[in-house]
Every structure is written in structure tokens, then in C-alpha cells.
Amino acid sequence: MLEIKVGPNDEIILSGRFDASQAERAETFLAAVTGSRVVDLAELQYISSLGLGVLLATQKRLMDRGESLKLVNVRGHVRDILHFAGFDRVFAIEPPPA
């Protein structure tokens, strides 16, 4: 299961597993997003290519408006997956604080 929450500074918090079975729910949520937002992936254990596709589509939509998502606390396997996807060129990506 993917948990989708909004934190105290309006950051979007994705935790759990972002697999194909959760992509539609995430898509519904992200469609409402306007403005530049931080997405906190600290507790995200897993993301599949469908999950990447949902993030990418949102980023493209926001960049057309001069806005963007910034991914923070990116770590572990999720960090590897985003790296292999070349998302360093698509998002500002920050690892957890040292």
C-alpha cells in the first residue's frame, strides 16, 4: 500500500510501496497539485516504473507552468531507481540530511 499524506509545510509525503496497483490513486492526488511542492520520499520503500511515470507526468505538467516538484530524503533502492531513470535531470533531488 502507498500512503499519501500532506505534511505541516505542505510537503507531499509518499510512504510505503508505489507499485502499479497504486498508480491510479497517486495520479488522482497529483492531478490536484498546483505550485511548486516538496515530495518527501524518506519512507518510500519501493517504486515501480508506473510510479516513475506518474511523477514524470506531474513534473512535465508543472514545468509547463514554471513550477516543479522537488524530491527530498531520497535514499536506498528508491535513490538507485530514480538514478537509473535519469531523474537527476528531471527533478531537483536531495538525499537525507547527513
Binding site: 507499485d19 496497483s21 519501493y46 515501480s48 516504473s49 516513475l52 538507485d80 537509473f84 535531470r89
Partner: protein
């Protein structure tokens, strides 16, 4: 450890059961948790691609084998068309956001998450195997 084999309906809704099947094997075979995400990723990718493009109509067979020094995971589609992911071109991950098109990332990433890939097409059975080094 004897190999484990189970078949699953060709639908996205099967994925939780597929992941459970893998996790149970990991526990019984005492395979390190660090290999879970790469194996889940590869299997989800192969499984959903078979649903989308495979063309078979039977359930999809998943087999898990612990071999010396490595884990082997095979997905077999009966009556589907042959498709060897090793010959799929890499995605253009060097492009910026505006030039990017959705899709095409799955196999590209899969190749970088596993340690080896085999493919076999025999008597209408299309089997992709991924390997993950253990130890």
C-alpha cells in the same frame, strides 16, 4: 531449497500475491532483504509487460530457484509471442523533462537492477529469467 512455482492471473491485481510469494521464498531461503526491491522491481516489470504486450491468455508462471551463489527468477508465458528484453534498446534517460516521453523506463532500469538475464522461447513457452547474486 527446492524451486517454488506458482501461476497468477494476468492482471495488475495479482501483484500483491506475487510479491507475497517472493517474500515467503526469501524468508524460507534466508535471502537478504537488500535483494527484495530489485527482485520486486524486475518481476513487476516483466509481469505487467506480459499483461500489456505478451499476448498469452493463460496464467503467468513465476518460478523461484536458489542456485549456487545466486537467485534465479523466471516468468513464463504460455502461447504468447517471443520477446527478448536483452535486445530492447535503452531509454533516453539523458533527456531533460520537456523532451521526455512517458514509458519505456521499465526494462531500462530492470537491466541495471539485476546481475544477469536469460531468455528462452520453446514450444510456444516464452521464459525470461533474471539472476541476482547473493552473498
Amino acid at each position: 531449497m527446492t524451486p517454488e512455482r506458482r501461476s497468477f492471473p494476468r492482471e495488475v491485481g495479482s501483484l500483491p500475491a506475487v510479491f507475497d510469494f517472493i517474500d515467503e521464498f526469501f524468508d524460507r531461503a534466508a535471502i537478504g532483504g537488500e535483494h527484495r526491491v530489485p527482485v520486486h522491481f524486475a518481476v513487476e516489470e516483466l509481469f505487467t509487460n506480459l499483461i500489456k504486450y505478451g499476448g498469452g491468455r493463460e496464467e503467468i508462471l513465476v518460478e523461484l530457484r536458489r542456485e549456487p551463489g545466486r537467485l534465479a527468477v523466471s516468468l513464463t508465458d504460455l502461447g504468447g509471442q517471443p520477446f527478448d528484453i536483452r535486445s530492447a534498446p535503452d531509454a533516453r534517460v539523458d533527456l531533460g523533462p520537456r523532451e521526455r516521453t512517458p514509458g519505456g523506463l521499465g526494462i531500462h532500469i530492470l537491466k541495471r537492477m539485476v546481475d544477469g538475464i536469460d531468455y528462452e522461447y520453446v514450444d510456444g513457452r516464452s521464459t525470461t529469467t533474471i539472476f541476482k547474486k547473493l552473498g
